[in-house]
Structures are given as structure tokens and as C-alpha cells.
């Protein structure tokens, strides 16, 4: 009798553990696969706003993607091409204007807290002038897409061939915060290479992607 109770108890325990593991397994990846990784960035930069709503080209900021192996993150100075003039969301600026009108005082400059971080990094003061007392400090973004060791990926070869950024990076223009959409596994790469460029919508040259190991591994 006691043995039977123990057996039943053990079976229930195994079933419970098993179901728990199954549930967990859905969100679990193999080691090295960071699909779905969506880290918090030092500045809450919105790709949805810039690339989606404002339709800024990817290559405007990631200007090395067709020149170098790395697409790169834009230098802080690149942001200033626009943010020298745009210091806060339109709504906040309008609200300040109306408030100033109502209070009968001159409009104060409005700086959004996120952009303040950019200006701090560049060592700018309240009026966006270079403050000699501060040293410019680069912004340390958190890298979202990382390839494993032993593998090399070259943006030039892909961007130059007509592969769109979304093919690998997913609909970034809809993301508030960038998330890794593809699993960046070797199978995922090779599937595309084996298709011989058939899945590139608008190739800029005849494509003949190689499936040799040494294309990426060296």
C-alpha cells in the first residue's frame, strides 16, 4: 500500500515537472540563439517613429551598411543633423507654447529627457552650445544582433546585392524598441544562400551566394 502511494506520488511529481518544463521550453532556445532579445537601450530611441512614421531611410543613420562589414551605429553627431532643431516631441512644444501664451511669458526651450541624454553625451549646454567644461562621451548602446564566434558576416555583400534590411532584421520600422526577429542560426543563413538569391526581391546584380563553409567561417 505504501509503495503504491509512493509510486502515485512520484508519477504525479514527474507529470507536473514535465508539464512545467514543456511550458518553459516554448520560450527557451538552444544556447547561442537569442531570438526575441529586446534589451533596454540607454536612450529610448524609437525605430517606429524614425523609420516608420518619418520614413527616414535605414542607410541615413546606418550609413556604413553598404561600405563596411559592420552596418554600425550612427555617431551621436549624426543625430544632431535633425535634433539640433527638434528638441522635443511636437506635442510637448505646442503645449509649452500655449502655456507661455496663457501665462504671457516668452516660450522656454523644451528638451525631452531622452534627447537630454544625447545632448549630454555631446557635451552641449541648455542652449545646445558646446560646453567646454564637459567632455563628449560616446553613447554605449546595447548590441541586439550578435553572431556567434567563428563566423563572419559582411553587410556590404548583402546590402550591395539588394537584400533589404528587413529580410534579416524584421519589420524594424514597426518596433518601438529593436528586437531580434530572426534566430541568426546557420540553418537560417544557409536556407537563403541555397535559394541562390531567388528570395531577394530586387537584386542589384546577378546573385550567386556561395554555400561554402569558408564564405562565413574563417
Amino acid at each position: 500500500m505504501r509503495h503504491r502511494v509512493t509510486t502515485i506520488f512520484l508519477l504525479v511529481a514527474i507529470a507536473f515537472t514535465g508539464s512545467l518544463l514543456l511550458v518553459r521550453a516554448k520560450g527557451t532556445h538552444l544556447p547561442g540563439n537569442h531570438q526575441g532579445y529586446e534589451p533596454v537601450q540607454p536612450i529610448a530611441y524609437s525605430h517606429r517613429l524614425h523609420a516608420g512614421e518619418l520614413q527616414i531611410q535605414c542607410l541615413y543613420c546606418h550609413s556604413n551598411a553598404d561600405k563596411s562589414r559592420h552596418a554600425g551605429v550612427p555617431a551621436a553627431a549624426t543625430c544632431m543633423n535633425c535634433h539640433r532643431f527638434i528638441t522635443a516631441p511636437l506635442g510637448a512644444v505646442r503645449a509649452e507654447e500655449e502655456l507661455a501664451k496663457a501665462e504671457g511669458r516668452p516660450v522656454r526651450p523644451v528638451v525631452s529627457p531622452e534627447l537630454r541624454k544625447l545632448y549630454d553625451a555631446l557635451g552641449l549646454d541648455a542652449s545646445l552650445q558646446r560646453d567646454p567644461a564637459r567632455t563628449p562621451r560616446a553613447i554605449a548602446w546595447t548590441r541586439v544582433h550578435s553572431l556567434p564566434d567563428f563566423v563572419y558576416f559582411d553587410h556590404r555583400a548583402h546590402v550591395g546585392g539588394g537584400v533589404t534590411c528587413q529580410t534579416c532584421h524584421g519589420p524594424v520600422e514597426t518596433m518601438e524598441r529593436v528586437r531580434q526577429v530572426s534566430d541568426l542560426s546557420m540553418g537560417w543563413c544557409v536556407n537563403c544562400h541555397r535559394a541562390g538569391g531567388a528570395n531577394v526581391a530586387a537584386p542589384t546584380r546577378p546573385l550567386a551566394p556561395s554555400s561554402d563553409c569558408s564564405t562565413c567561417h574563417y
Binding site: N64, S68, R69, T78, S146, F150
Partner: protein, 995 residues
């Protein structure tokens, strides 16, 4: 005549068997684990793997520029032209920098001196830049200080010396930088008694002194080996270490290239030991140093008379007299009568102005042994008030050099701690050559520019700026260099007079070739005008054992002995790493009952040393040869070097350093530092000290246990006579060598696009090792230490197999660069259980590190023995040293096999660049690291599917063959046969009579 090439004396004497050759994996090295050890290891591995897999992926950061500088694309490499600071040869470099840090040194192909060649020292200079143990700040009396403080302190001392009228000396090696010469002169001008003393650790003072005697100018001639049909070298290793090896190798290889069209040069080398140049010689004669000097004198007498003489001297003279104005006679002996004899021969043959130039001389050697001897005397006598020492280490490399520590104010401007900086009162560290502006004038009228490639890594200061500060007029080095170039270089350059444009072009190319200089009138004095002492036949001390001190191509005078890559580069002849030793001929060694590894006590009147012995075939049987440049304080850093495990032996010797310093054996003799001596006492010390020698690792001979009966020697090195070469159909059918008529056992690999291949000219290769170090830097190949090398575990992807061959014209050395042959039917591929090594569609044998599980079956099955296994996670440096790694190549971890990839990262880069341009790849656009730096242009890489490529042309040429062709593995690498001159040579008896 049967030509048998052999690797070692053991192999030769066992008549073709693999005797002496070691199996690739030493059984003893693997240890002898018990069951208990095995279980421990299994348990540890499982626990380790479990622990490792639990760690979360690290959060990586991406840090962009604040403002991206124009012209810089992160991840894209930019090459800057500069001048090498490794020695005084002044070769032109293109340094590849990526993201603000230099990652690879390459040769500048258009440079007027080096024409694309870089030696091993230049290649390894990158490690010098990133060296963690460089001085990071100035120090005064041993305490760290700042530049303003040290300037104040030293300038006060200088003021006191000025008022007291004390003597100030600046001691440097050869300085041919016009700006630095001005800087030193300006500094010394403020003192009543100031003098700039130059001396070279690899002194050629005798050449300069001899020209002073014979031509009235103290100058070093510029040699044009590409114009010389006959070269007779009396103990000058001009292909290895003598003055400007990269430049000379290029000219020499150009002249001897059978496809070159001009008459193939003939080269005789008379030497006491086996040097690089001797190995290449058509005629090599081993003689003791004093007899070489006497022979030079005899040849001079015959050439001047136009006839007469007998024996060897007559043979050499006949050869020379058949090529008047088209020959070079040179000597590396630090012996005035011998050098005067060479000058007399060159003058009598009318070579001056044709094959060597004294009117527009070389500045690569200016040092004076006489001046430095006087300096040491003055220092010992207390007649010098202050001494500045830059880039030299007199305490280490001069006999009696410690006299400099008696100077009341000794200032060292060294880059890293050495014997002299340890004795100095103040250390004012100089920048590395890659951190500062400077210039060079290696040959009169030919200028080089050095530009900074990286922001200085420490609080160092350029010597130019230090001198300017102490002269009371601080100025940036750039301003000083620009001023010199505006005043002196721009006016003689033919590119026009607009300085800013000239400067921009010069910075871009790295050099300015001013050929507008009017050559000075220099006349050779007749024999009657010469001092009678110089015209006396040098005395020969018969039957005594002589000593000759030499330099190794990678270590030179010891300035670069801190560099692990150079320490682990096998000596081109002996293939020993991490040591110096006493080379003895086989007969002498047998007479003294010494074998390789046995320690001998070698003594002269001045000093004695206990060094391990190396039995060296081809060496003169009355001479002991010892390398200089070893045993320096800067090698103490290697005390903990190498992988530490339970049976490891240290990389350093019993003295805590690498090798022993042989400088005390240098003989100061009538104003020259003589590197040879007579009357040497030598005796066995009764102990042994093993040498780590790669000579018999990874041999291609058949292992004894695999051969049926005594195996025949394999035709690994092949040769062709000049007559046979001329008779062969020119560029037969363009078909690739080794294409067997019979069918293949295996199905062919389709290679529709490119088919990468290489051609290696064994005839041109001198064995200098530049390619080995170039490959090592490019491909992040670790340095493993003496203990690991002793276990056959050196990691070089590219090795140079050295074979000896003896015939009636002496010992010959064949150098065969050996690396992965990228066989079409690769034996390694069929045995890999995990498909970690497979063939690519472009003919590359690929090695996939992340698939490799380390069975080592592939290495076992490789007939060329080119695969290397990571027995440990080898050291890739710490701190700034890690910056020297190439970011385009993976750093392999423990348990992974690796081998030559034909620089696949460069292939990918070249292909992508061509795609972006929208053009097909050009032949020669992709160069492998070994090819790029080869001074002899012995390595060619390219596309074998392109019939017009150079590699196709060479692979289908008359000289092409494949190594171990009979295996039918179809290597992608062709070798070009050695060409042997079929012209008659003197008989062996004649040589014996002369000696």
C-alpha cells in the same frame, strides 16, 4: 650525379630511411594516464562543460564615435605608408590599420629601396608597438615622473654642464633621418664639447673604414645585386642579416630568376658557418675567418695582375674577370685588409659606378667602431659629463660597454627596459616608430617618411621632440620633419616645387625619390697610394680553433629579442628556436666528443661561455660559430612564458634569460670590433641542455613503420640544370604540372568559378622567414614557447622546410615553404568524422573550427604534415598586446585543428570589393600574407581557372612540379624547381688543398 636532399645528419647517415624524423604526435608527450586520472579528467570535463553552459550570454555594447571622422569607416581597413624602424635599412611599409589601430605590416610595392619586401623583424614590429612592458612614462632615478619635471631636472643639469664646459655625447645607431641629424646637431651645438657617436650592433665599420682608405670617403656603398652577374661574398650574409637584406634579396632574386631573360647570376660564398646567402650560393666554400681574409687578398692580387695564381683564388678570380663591371665582391668580415682587398677587386673590375655606388652611397650603415671605442675610453676615464643613449644598448652589446654607467649623467631614451636603461639616471622613453613623425634617407637622395598610425599608447615622447625641448625650443616632431622636407627634400624632388602638394603626395606614398642629386666625384686610390699595412696578406693561424660571431635574421643584435614571434621563428639554417648555441662542424664535434645538446665551454682570452652545441653540416671544421643578440635582460620577460602544465620546462635557460650573451667574445682590434677570433679553447662541460629544434618535426619522409624495406628518398625538392631548362619547350602547353594522364581514383570537384592556387619558387626562396611571421601576424597564430616546440607543437601554418644537399661544389641548402597544399583529393577530408574539413567550390580545403572535435585524424592523414592542433588555449597576449590580433580571423580555442586557409579572409575581402565595383577580380588583386611580404617574390597566389593569371603561367611552366605528386592528391600548390648551374666547378681536391 645523384642528388639526395636530407634534413639532418642522422637522416643522411641512415641512407634514406626516416631515421631521426619524429612522428607527428609524440607518444610520451601525451603522458601516461592511469584509469584514475582518466576518470578525474572525465569528471572535470563534464562539470566544466555544465558550468560553462549555464552562464548567460554576455551583454555586448556597441560604442559609436561621438562624431565620425571623415574618411574613416568603422570596420574598413585603411593602409598608411610609412618607413620601417626595425633596423636601419629603411624599408617602405604599408601598415594596415583598422578602427584606429595598426593590425598588419605589409611591404610598400613601389618603394625605391625595398620594393615590397619586408623581413621578419618588420613584420613583427606590431608586437613591439603593443608590448605591455614598454616604458609608459619617463622616470628619474628609478622613480616615475612627468615630462615637465624631468625636463626641468635635466635642463638644469645640462646648464651646469654647459657652464663647466663638460663633454656631452649622444650615442645612437646609424641615424640617416635628416631631421633627427639636424635635431641632434642643434642640441649638441649648445655645448662646448658635444659629439654625436654612431655605432651599430651589426657593425659594418670595416667597410666604411676601408672605403676611407681606398676612396677617401667614409661611406658605405649601395649594392645593386640585380646588376651583378657574379657575386663573390667573403662571409657577408647579405640575404640574411647584412645591412639591408630585403633590398639585396630582391635584387638577387631578380637577377637569378630563370624567366627573367638576362643571364643567370653566379654566386660564390666563402664563409665559416652556414648562412642564408651561403645556402643559396652556386659555389660554397667553408673556411676559417682568417683564411677567408687571406683568400680575399689572394683574389685581389690575381685580379689586379690580370692572371696568375692557383687553386681556389684563381677560380674565383677567373669568374670575376669574366664579368668586369657586372660583378660584386663584398665581405662581412670586420677586418680592414679583407675589406680593402674587396675594394681593390671591385675597383680593378670597374664595378664602382655600375654594380655598387660609392658616389651616391647608402646611409644604412654609418657607425664607427673607432668612435664608440673612444667614447667608452672617455667614459671609463670620467671625461664625459652627460651621455644620451637612443635605440642602442652599449652595456649589452659592446665588450666593456658597462663603462657608460660611469658617466655622471646617463640618459636612456629606450622604448623598453634594457641593460643600459637600468644603469641610466633618467629614462625618457621614445615613441614606437608607428607612433611618431620621422623621416629617413637610407640611400643618398632617396627619402622615406614615417607617419604616426596610432595615438601613443603611453606617456612617451618622440626623441625629436625631446631634443627640441632640451635645446630650449620645443616643437612638435611634425613641424620639424616638415621643415626639413621643405628645406632639403622638396628642392631635389622632381615632382615640382609646390611644397604642400609635394608633402601631401609624400605622406601618401611614404617616400620621395630625389634623383636630382649630382653624384660626388669619388676616385679609387691606386695600390701604391695605400698604407702598406693594409696591403699585407692577413696572417693565418693554422690548426687553431677559430670563433666566428654571427647574427640571426630575426634576432639581429638583440634589440628585438623581447619579441616572442621572432624568438619562435626557427633559425633559417639550424631550425632551432629560443636559444643561441655553439655551431660545430661534424668532424670537429666528433673530435671533441660533443653532440647536439651537449654543453661546451668556449673560451677566448677575453671571456668564456658555456653553451649547448649544435652540430652543423657544412660548417668549417676549425671554426665555432655563436649567435650574438641573445641573453639580454629584455628576455627575462619569458621566465613564465609558455603553457604551464605538469611536465613543462621553462622557455628561458638556467640564467633566466633566452640564450647567453656572446658579446664579451667580440675582439676590439685596432679600431674595429672584430667578430672573429683565433685560438679558442673548447671543451665539453659534461652536461646537456636540450635545444628546441623544428628540423625534424613534420617531415615528409616515409615513416619507418610504414615503408616496405628501406624507403627511397622522395623527390620533395627537385632541381633542373640550366641546360635542361634551356632545352625544355618554352611554357610547354600551359597545362598544369602534375596533371596525370591516368584517370583519377576520385570524382573531380567541380570548380566553376575561381580555383585558387599558389606557385612557390624554391629557387628564389632564401628561407629568411618573413612569410612565416607575416602569416603568423595575419592569422593570429599563437607563440607557444620552447617547451611546446620541443614537443612538436609549434603552431606555424607556414613552415620553411630546409634540406641540405652536398655535391662537389659544397653544401647547398634548399628552402621549401610548406603549408596546406589544398589538395583536390585531400586525404584529411576523407577521415574527418564530423566533416569539419571539407572542400570548397573554389578549391580551398576548408577547416571549420566550430565543427572540429579534435580527433586529429586529419593531421595524421596529411602527407604534407601541415595541420596544427591547439593542445591548449594558447596565449594571445594581455592588455594592449591583444590589439595586435587580426579582427578578421578567429582566435582558435583549445582542442581545435587549424592550418593554412590561403588567407581566406583576404579572398573574401577581395571578392566583395570586386563585386562592389561591379568588375571581375584582377589577377594579383588578392595577395596572401606570405606572398605580400616576400622580398624574393617567391610566392604567387591566384586563380588557376584564369589561364592568363601569373599563377597559371607558373604552374604550367617548365619548372613546375607538385610535391609528392605520386600520391595523386592533386595539390593546388605548385613548386618551381631549383635551377643548378651546369657550368664546371673546381674539383673537391683543389678546395682541400687550399684549406
Amino acid at each position: 650525379m645523384s642528388r639526395v636532399y636530407w634534413l639532418s645528419l642522422e637522416q643522411r647517415d641512415l641512407a634514406g630511411s626516416s631515421g631521426g624524423a619524429q612522428p607527428e604526435f609524440l607518444e610520451a608527450a601525451a603522458g601516461d594516464p592511469s584509469r584514475r586520472d582518466f576518470l578525474k579528467l572525465v569528471g572535470f570535463s563534464v562539470a566544466g562543460a555544465a558550468a560553462a553552459s549555464c552562464s548567460p550570454a554576455p551583454v555586448r555594447q556597441e560604442i559609436p564615435y561621438v562624431a565620425q571622422p571623415e574618411g574613416i569607416v568603422p570596420g574598413d581597413a585603411v593602409s598608411y605608408a610609412t618607413t620601417c624602424g626595425g633596423c636601419t635599412a629603411g624599408c617602405g611599409l604599408l601598415v594596415k590599420t583598422r578602427d584606429g589601430r595598426p593590425i598588419k605590416v605589409e611591404g610598400c610595392p613601389d618603394h625605391p629601396i625595398s620594393a615590397g619586401g619586408v623581413c621578419s623583424v618588420g613584420q613583427a614590429a606590431l608586437l613591439g608597438l603593443y608590448d605591455n612592458l614598454r616604458f609608459r612614462s619617463p622616470s628619474l632615478g628609478g622613480a616615475q615622473t612627468s615630462w615637465p619635471e624631468i625636463d626641468t631636472a635635466l635642463m638644469a643639469r645640462f646648464d651646469a654642464i654647459r657652464q663647466a664646459g663638460g663633454a656631452v655625447r649622444v650615442l645612437t645607431p646609424t641615424v640617416h633621418s635628416p631631421t633627427l641629424r639636424r635635431g641632434i646637431a642643434a642640441f649638441l651645438a649648445s655645448f662646448g664639447d658635444g659629439e654625436h657617436v654612431e655605432y651599430d650592433a651589426l657593425s659594418a665599420s670595416a667597410v666604411l673604414d676601408a672605403h676611407e682608405a681606398t676612396h677617401g670617403v667614409r661611406a658605405f656603398p649601395r649594392y645593386f645585386f640585380d646588376r651583378a652577374e657574379v657575386v663573390v661574398s667573403f662571409d657577408a650574409d647579405f640575404l640574411g642579416t647584412w645591412v639591408s637584406p630585403a633590398e639585396y634579396t630582391r635584387g638577387y632574386a631578380l637577377r637569378r630568376r630563370p624567366e627573367g631573360g638576362s643571364a643567370r647570376g653566379w654566386h660564390a660564398q666563402i664563409e665559416s658557418r652556414v648562412s642564408l646567402a651561403g645556402g643559396k650560393a652556386d659555389r660554397r666554400i667553408a673556411l676559417p675567418p682568417d683564411e677567408i681574409a687571406a683568400l680575399a687578398f689572394d683574389v685581389a692580387a690575381i685580379v689586379e695582375q690580370g692572371s696568375g695564381g692557383s687553386g681556389l683564388a684563381s677560380e674565383l678570380a677567373q669568374r670575376l674577370m669574366a664579368a668586369p663591371g657586372r660583378s660584386i665582391v663584398l665581405s662581412g668580415l670586420q677586418d680592414l685588409p679583407a675589406q680593402v682587398a674587396c675594394n681593390r677587386i671591385n675597383a680593378a673590375l670597374g664595378n664602382y659606378g655600375r654594380t655598387l655606388d660609392i658616389a651616391q652611397p647608402s646611409n644604412q650603415r654609418r657607425g664607427s667602431d673607432r668612435a664608440v671605442a673612444r667614447l667608452l675610453d672617455d667614459a671609463a676615464a670620467g671625461r664625459i659629463a652627460a651621455l644620451l643613449v637612443w635605440h642602442t644598448n652599449p652595456v649589452f652589446d659592446l665588450p666593456g660597454g658597462s663603462a657608460v654607467s660611469k658617466v655622471p649623467l646617463l640618459v636612456s631614451l629606450a622604448e623598453r627596459p634594457d641593460e643600459t636603461s637600468a644603469a641610466a639616471h633618467a629614462v625618457c622613453p621614445d615613441h614606437h616608430a608607428f607612433e611618431s613623425w620621422a623621416d629617413a634617407e637610407p640611400v643618398a637622395g632617396s627619402y622615406g617618411l614615417t607617419q604616426p598610425l596610432v595615438r601613443p599608447l603611453g606617456d612617451t615622447r618622440a626623441f625629436l621632440e625631446t631634443l627640441a625641448a632640451w635645446s630650449g625650443a620645443p616643437r612638435p616632431a611634425l613641424d620639424q620633419v616638415r621643415e626639413t622636407w621643405r628645406d632639403t627634400v622638396c628642392p631635389v624632388d622632381h615632382r615640382g616645387s609646390d611644397f604642400e602638394q609635394f608633402w601631401a603626395e609624400s605622406v601618401q606614398t611614404g617616400y620621395a625619390a630625389g634623383d636630382a642629386l649630382a653624384p660626388a666625384e669619388v676616385r679609387a686610390r691606386s695600390a701604391a697610394e695605400l698604407d702598406a699595412a693594409l696591403m699585407a696578406r692577413p696572417a693565418v693561424s693554422a690548426d687553431a680553433i677559430r670563433l666566428t660571431l654571427y647574427h640571426k635574421p630575426a634576432i639581429l643584435g638583440g634589440e628585438h629579442a623581447y619579441n616572442p614571434m621572432l624568438q619562435e621563428l626557427p633559425d633559417p639554417i639550424s631550425k632551432v628556436v629560443w636559444d643561441n648555441y655553439a655551431c660545430l662542424g661534424p668532424t670537429l664535434a666528433a673530435r671533441l666528443q660533443l653532440a647536439t645538446g651537449g654543453v661546451a665551454r668556449i673560451g677566448t682570452a677575453a671571456a668564456s661561455l658555456e653553451l649547448p652545441v649544435l652540430v652543423q653540416p657544412g660548417q668549417d671544421e676549425q671554426t665555432v660559430a655563436i649567435a650574438l643578440g641573445y641573453g639580454g635582460q629584455i628576455t627575462e620577460r619569458f621566465q613564465g612564458f609558455g603553457h604551464h602544465w605538469f611536465r613543462s620546462r621553462p622557455t628561458v635557460g638556467p640564467n633566466g634569460r633566452v640564450g647567453l650573451n656572446a658579446a664579451p667574445l667580440i675582439v676590439p682590434d685596432r679600431g674595429l670590433l672584430r667578430r672573429h677570433a683565433a685560438d679558442v679553447q673548447i671543451a665539453a662541460a659534461g652536461r646537456t641542455q636540450p635545444l628546441a629544434c623544428t628540423q625534424e618535426h613534420h617531415t615528409l619522409s616515409v615513416p619507418a613503420n610504414l615503408s616496405f624495406g628501406p624507403p627511397a628518398p622522395r623527390p620533395i625538392v627537385q632541381e633542373i640544370s640550366t641546360a635542361a631548362l634551356a632545352a625544355a619547350a618554352p611554357e610547354a602547353d600551359g597545362g598544369e604540372a602534375g596533371a596525370h594522364a591516368g584517370g583519377d581514383l576520385w570524382a573531380a570537384h567541380p570548380m566553376p568559378g575561381h580555383r585558387w592556387g599558389m606557385a612557390v619558387d624554391v629557387d628564389a626562396c632564401t628561407g629568411c622567414g618573413a612569410c612565416v611571421v607575416g602569416c603568423q601576424v595575419e592569422n593570429n597564430i599563437p607563440v607557444v614557447g620552447k617547451d611546446e616546440v620541443g614537443r612538436n607543437r609549434e603552431m606555424h601554418w607556414l613552415r620553411i622546410d630546409r634540406y641540405y644537399m652536398e655535391d662537389e661544389s659544397g653544401l647547398h641548402v634548399a628552402n621549401q615553404p610548406m603549408f596546406c597544399q589544398h589538395c583536390e583529393h585531400a586525404p584529411c577530408e576523407t577521415v574527418c568524422p564530423v566533416l569539419a574539413t571539407v572542400h570548397s567550390s573554389e578549391g580551398l580545403n576548408q577547416q571549420i573550427y566550430n565543427r572540429c572535435v579534435g580527433t586529429r585524424y586529419c593531421a595524421n592523414n596529411c602527407p604534407y604534415k601541415v595541420r596544427r592542433f591547439n593542445w591548449f588555449a594558447y596565449d594571445h597576449g594581455e592588455g594592449t598586446e591583444q590589439l595586435a590580433s587580426n579582427p578578421d580571423v578567429t582566435i582558435r580555442s583549445r582542442g581545435v585543428m587549424e592550418k593554412c586557409t590561403m588567407c581566406v579572409q583576404r579572398i573574401q575581402e577581395g571578392k566583395i570589393a570586386a563585386k562592389r565595383r561591379g568588375e571581375p577580380l584582377r589577377d594579383g588583386e588578392i595577395q596572401t600574407a606570405c606572398q605580400q611580404s616576400c622580398p624574393a617574390h617567391a610566392i604567387v597566389f591566384g586563380d588557376l581557372n584564369d589561364p592568363s593569371s601569373e599563377v597559371s603561367r607558373l604552374s604550367g611552366g617548365r619548372r613546375a612540379y607538385k610535391v609528392l605528386e605520386e600520391l595523386q592528391v592533386k595539390p593546388a600548390v605548385s613548386y618551381l624547381k631549383i635551377v643548378r648551374d651546369a657550368r664546371p666547378a673546381a674539383t673537391a681536391t683543389e678546395i682541400a688543398h687550399h684549406g
